[in-house]
């Protein structure tokens, strides 16, 4: 399986702090990878480094086999790396339709505003926002705004889509709806990075899970392996609990 | 010898500029508002001092608290009643609003006092301090002292008092402060009023040093601008540093390039600084 994105020994320092420490991993086309870890583990930093918002201090990032560090964030978006952010950022005084059209227009290389709007409409249908297409983005509910973020990113026709805490602040049913959406997107051949700090959310959505802790990649594998992984449990639940867990396992 | 005197001129002038800028910087730093009214407020204070001296014979320095207080009240009113309506609005809105208010205030002063230039002539005059052939006009020395004094007081207030800590809190993180139960709007008003107080205080001094007229307000405002950007927003030490830096720039600019270019280099330095360190020399990030 050929990799769409490959990280080689990527690090990022903030002053003395090492927010990312020698991360190496690669993502295959159409994969849904969950990236989890406690707060401050470096998840968002990873996204920012890939999207060049905060460039890597060292290491190589390859997209489709080409190095992409040094590109500006807007270029990154244009070559097909899209992201949603924890805090939704719509264009408040544009209509929902135009919010999405903007994505198509500037990242997906659509040339005319008209075309952008029509392709935007598709995304709205897909994300179920068509009903509010002509409302101003500012007027949407939080859930709809998250959908809008998603629709906007999809309109950018990304090959890699990074979803940073899309589910934060959503209730159970909304989360399920969102996850269905995500699976559907993956099915269309888009690689998805699902950044979450809740393990349970990613477990049933992802084919593979990577765990960050204090900027280091401490585990990377199929969900089943991850849940059993001592280092992960330690990272999440602290050493004491981890130890007890181990005893429990040995005795049984 | 020559350049030593120039150095002294520069530093003293700097003191004057700091004095002009201190209130302006506070308001900008905390409210994130460029108070175009500042220059006119200084002039207003100067007029108050002028009339207090010529009519009632009150010494301008003795008059500082009164002038300051009356401007404090004016400032509080303006902020609470009008400016508060646009707090947090885009730069353009706040800027234009204070600009409009300034037009009104200026025009009022013009009608009330006419444009004629007036100046307090102290009797006896403050005179000079002579160190060998070096001369230090005492009124400017006072300006330096006052500037330092105002900055010092402000520093103390911001650190020591309840309200002061509230102001600092609001400056650092308005929302957080609000959550902590700080009445943000009220703090804004108090801060703005304090800025006005300092304008009034500075004005009293200016009435001894400069010919005063409503027409001088823009000159004062302009200097305050430059000083703040040089020194860094909301940084009180920055005001002193920025003022002195500007004073030195202009003085040595005069020496090297001639008086007509003195202001130019100040602007050029300002522009360059903006390029590379927008927050000024001692400025804290995040006042954008």
């Amino acid at each position: 399986m050929s990799a769409i994105l490959e990280l080689r020994d990527v690090s990022r320092n903030f002053g003395g702090l090492r927010a990312l420490d020698g991360i190496s991993m690669s993502f295959g086309i159409g994969e849904v990878i969950g990236i989890i870890g406690p707060n401050g583990a470096g998840k968002t930093t990873l996204v920012n480094v890939i999207t060049a918002v905060t460039p890597a201090s060292s290491g190589d990032i390859l997209f489709n086999g080409n190095p992409i560090q040094g590109l500006t964030p807007d270029r990154i978006a244009q070559i097909g790396i899209a992201r949603t952010s924890q805090i939704v950022q719509p264009f408040p005084r544009l209509t929902v339709l135009d919010n999405v059209a903007a994505g198509a227009l500037f990242a997906a290389g659509v040339n005319t505003i008209a075309d952008a709007r029509s392709s935007a409409m598709e995304q709205l249908e897909f994300t179920g926002l068509a009903r509010v297409a002509h409302k101003l983005a500012a007027t949407l509910s939080l859930a709809d705004r998250k959908r809008l973020e998603l629709a906007k990113s999809l309109a950018m026709k990304p090959k890699l889509l990074m979803l940073d805490e899309v589910n934060a602040g959503l209730n159970a049913s909304e989360i399920d709806a969102a996850l269905d959406l995500i699976r559907a997107i993956a099915a269309s051949g888009v690689t998805i990075l699902l950044i979450e700090h809740l393990m349970k959310v990613v477990l049933n959505a992802c084919s593979r899970i990577a765990v960050l802790h204090q900027g280091r990649l401490i585990a990377d594998g199929i969900p089943e392996a991850i849940v059993g992984d001592a280092k992960v449990i330690e990272a999440y639940l602290g050493r004491k609990f981890a130890a007890r867990q181990r005893k429990v396992m040995e005795t049984s | 010898m020559l350049s030593l005197q120039i150095l002294i001129n520069g530093i003293l002038l700097g003191g004057l500029y700091s004095c002009i800028a201190v209130g302006f910087s506070l308001v900008w730093g905390v409210l994130n508002i460029i108070n175009i009214l500042h220059g006119s407020m200084i002039v207003l204070g100067a007029y108050a001092a002028f009339f207090a001296y010529s009519q009632l014979g009150i010494h301008p320095f003795a008059f500082i608290p009164i002038a300051g207080l009356s401007l404090f009240i004016l400032g509080y009113g303006l902020q609470a009643k009008i400016i508060n309506r646009v707090m947090g609005a885009p730069v353009l809105i706040t800027l234009t609003l204070t600009f409009g208010l300034n037009l009104i205030l200026d025009n009022m002063m013009m009608v009330a006092f006419k444009a004629d230039y007036r100046k307090i002539i102290l009797d006896p005059p403050l005179g000079l301090l002579e160190l060998g052939s070096l001369l230090i006009p005492i009124d400017r020395l006072y300006a330096m002292v006052l500037a330092l004094g105002l900055v010092g007081c402000l520093y103390a207030i911001l650190r020591a008092t309840q309200i002061g800590r509230a102001i600092v809190a609001v400056r650092m993180d308005r929302d957080a402060a609000a959550l902590m139960g700080v009445k943000v709007k009220q703090i804004y008003a108090v801060t703005f009023a304090t800025g006005a107080f300092m304008a009034g205080a500075a004005g009293c001094l200016m009435s001894v040093i400069f010919p005063i007229s409503p027409l001088t307000s823009n000159a004062f405002l302009g200097k305050a601008f430059v000083v703040c950007v040089l020194g860094g927003l909301g940084s009180m030490p920055g005001v002193i540093l920025g003022g002195i830096l500007l004073g030195l720039l202009e003085s040595f600019g005069t020496l090297w390039l001639g008086p007509d270019f003195s202001t130019t280099i100040a602007f050029v330095v300002l522009l360059t600084l903006l390029m590379f360190r927008p927050t000024g020399l001692l400025g804290k990030r995040g006042f954008e």
Partner: protein, 403 residues
């Protein structure tokens, strides 16, 4: 929306036409002599603007009291139309044109100062309206071969030359002069003329520089002047500059044999704002209440003018007030000689010159500036201004040094 725009347009035109309507009716019947005067009643020049207006008003009052200007066989009252150009030259030009076209004035008094006069004179030339300039003294204003511009001020060098002579004769020890000029049309031109006059008399110019408009500090320029050890210091600029510079000269104990400042010391305002520092400051001006001219105009003489002015404003007239009245009487005399309001005739009689006015005898060079009287030299002595020159009106002796 459509209606909104219609309304706006209608009211716009109403607004604009109204003034026109009122005036033009009175013009057609030509029941009065209409003079247009754009003035800087607000903005940086407003002090001068109001001074000028006082001068105009006094003249109008006196003329109309006397029944008006004799045009041929009948007497016509005078009406001046004022507009405020907010000390903004383009607005002055615009209003000059409005006065000519809209208000159909017969003649114009130019706006204040050399710069605005120069700009506005283009309009009056365009329409062939004789225009009297009360306050333009820089030759640059008159160097464009205009036929309609007549100024009551003699050129700047008529101030610098006699002053230089006085210094040369009255203070022979003066060998070195330092000149500091405001970088602005009139003051700069004046400074350059001082440079010439000084050089011509073998006085070495040891410092000559310009300071920017709106400068708040001159300390370092003064330090340099001090170190160039001049016996004579010349500063040109406007009253606020001069007040500040005088103070800062004091701050550095700079005490030349002669200190000349133009133009400000003739104003009481300057003396009030500098106090004792104003003593022994010399200056030159185009007119002074001490002047003793007898005239053919309705003021009869300088003394009488001063008396009338005091009666009306409880204040001594300064040269700006006086020149305001002077352009008035000048226009009046010219019209009366021409015997008509015809612009060409009036222009001709202005050009002919030989007017005896309270402001002094007025004749004009081909370029249009006055070249017919000697402006007095003044020195502030114990808080009062004394005339040092010309002899005829001398009221004090040249004092050297500063206290």
């Amino acid at each position: 929306m459509r209606t909104q725009i219609k309304n706006l347009l209608r009211h716009a035109l109403q607004g604009l036409m109204l003034t026109t309507a009122v005036v033009s009716t009175s013009v057609i019947a030509q029941e009065s002599v209409l003079v247009g005067a754009p003035l800087p009643l607000t903005g940086p020049l407003s002090p001068e603007g109001t001074k000028l207006q006082r001068g105009y008003d006094l003249w109008v009052e006196e003329v109309n009291k006397a029944g008006g200007i004799a045009v041929g066989n009948k007497k016509l009252p005078v009406k001046i139309i004022y507009y405020d150009y907010q000390s903004n030259t383009p607005k002055a030009v615009q209003l000059a044109e409005k006065l000519v076209i809209d208000d159909k004035v017969n003649f114009l008094f130019s706006p204040f100062g050399s710069g605005a006069t120069k700009a506005a004179s283009a309009v009056s030339e365009k329409y062939g309206v004789p225009t009297l300039a009360p306050t333009a003294s820089s030759v640059e204003v008159y160097d464009r071969g205009y036929k309609n511009l007549f100024g009551t001020f003699t050129p700047n060098d008529s101030l610098t030359e006699p002053l230089a002579d006085l210094v040369k004769s009255g203070a022979p020890e003066v060998k070195r002069v330092a000149i500091l000029s405001r970088n602005d049309l009139y003051p700069l031109a004046l400074g350059q003329d001082f440079e010439k006059s000084a050089k011509k008399r073998g006085i070495e110019v040891v410092y000559f520089d310009k300071y920017p408009i709106g400068a708040l500090d001159h300390a370092s320029a003064i330090t340099q002047i001090r170190s160039s050890k001049p016996d004579w210091i010349v500063v040109t600029g406007y009253i606020n500059d001069l007040i500040l510079i005088r103070k800062q000269l004091g701050d550095q104990k700079v005490r030349p044999v002669v200190l000349t400042m133009i133009n400000g010391p003739v104003y009481q305002e300057f003396i009030d704002a500098t106090g004792p520092l104003s003593n022994n400051v010399t200056t030159a001006t185009w007119w002074h209440p001490a002047a003793r001219y007898t005239s053919q105009d309705l003021f009869k003489s300088s003394e009488n003018y001063t008396k009338l002015f005091k009666a009306k404003y409880k204040d001594d007239p300064d040269f700006t007030n006086a020149t305001g009245s002077a352009v008035g009487v000048l226009l009046q005399l010219a019209i009366e000689r021409a015997g008509s309001l015809d612009r060409d005739k009036v222009r001709a009689s202005l050009a002919a010159g030989n007017f005896k006015t309270f402001f002094g005898p007025l004749s004009f060079s081909p370029e249009g500036y006055a070249n017919s009287y000697i402006p007095p030299i003044i020195q502030v002595q114990n808080g009062r201004s004394a005339v040092l020159y010309p002899k005829a009106i001398k009221s004090g002796d040249f004092r050297l040094g500063l206290d």
